[in-house]
């Protein structure tokens, strides 16, 4: 049974495969697009990290495309340890995760909510 990874996925230590890549964090990953063959490959689909790569996996996963999409959204945040209250901020690019103190790791659209109001850069035409 085969499933195709949709996102880079950490390998299980000890796995040897020429497709494995080393990420910027020094950890080893299966790259997105890698097709993994395993009797439990449907679990990768159900948990939101892969899509079916053969009919057997499609049948075993037994999910609609909407269910798969929902599982994929959930797994992305789960893998980064994002708590539910921060899902929207993660989607909006405000934050990418948490540091060891539990503080946000700023994303590309970071908003410093503790900054004095006078420091905020308001959109053009913003009307108080």
């Amino acid at each position: 049974m085969r499933a195709r990874l949709l996102i880079d996925q950490p390998i299980t230590p000890g796995t040897v495969d020429e497709r494995i890549v080393v990420g910027e964090d020094g950890k080893s990953y299966w790259p997105a697009g890698a097709v993994l063959e395993d009797p439990r490959a449907q679990r990768l689909v159900q948990m939101g990290v892969a899509e079916p790569a053969d009919a057997e996996c499609t049948l075993a996963a037994n999910m609609t495309s909407e269910q798969m999409a929902a599982a994929q959204r959930k797994q992305e945040m789960l893998a980064k340890g994002i708590v539910e209250d921060d899902y929207q901020r993660y989607f909006d690019g405000e934050m990418m995760g948490y540091d060891a103190d539990g503080n946000d790791i700023p994303g590309p659209n970071w908003i410093d909510r503790d900054a004095p109001e006078s420091d905020l850069i308001l959109p053009e035409g913003f009307n108080e």
Binding site: I11, W30, R40, G81, V83, D101
Partner: protein, 135 residues
Amino acid sequence: MARVVSKGTVITQDIAAAQVAIAQINSFSHSGAETGTVDTTALDSGVGIELTASGHATGGSFDFSLFFDSELAGHQSLSDQLGNPIQRAYGLTLAGGTAITFNAAGIGFGFSGDVGGVNTADVTLPITGLMVYVT
């Protein structure tokens, strides 16, 4: 030096040689890891019990609890292992990115609920070898 908060911790299980995060975990603990000793106290030893390092260490047990949802594939994958008891790899990524890995020789899995509460499951993973700690 920092106090690493538990928020943001991710626990993963092996699926098809990939480490996939498990949802709805609310607590975790590792216990029982210790170096082995041999009691080498003899009848003619002094008062104090003498222990000698055996040269081995036990990895202990990694336990976690989760809000149990029998429809979640990640939870099903844990209970699946009761019917397919083989060694599996797990991972723990702490907030901030520190990763710890270990192999479990089996699994203990049970769930419970009570009036006014929600269903929870307790998972026990007997570690074979040692955790791969950050050194």
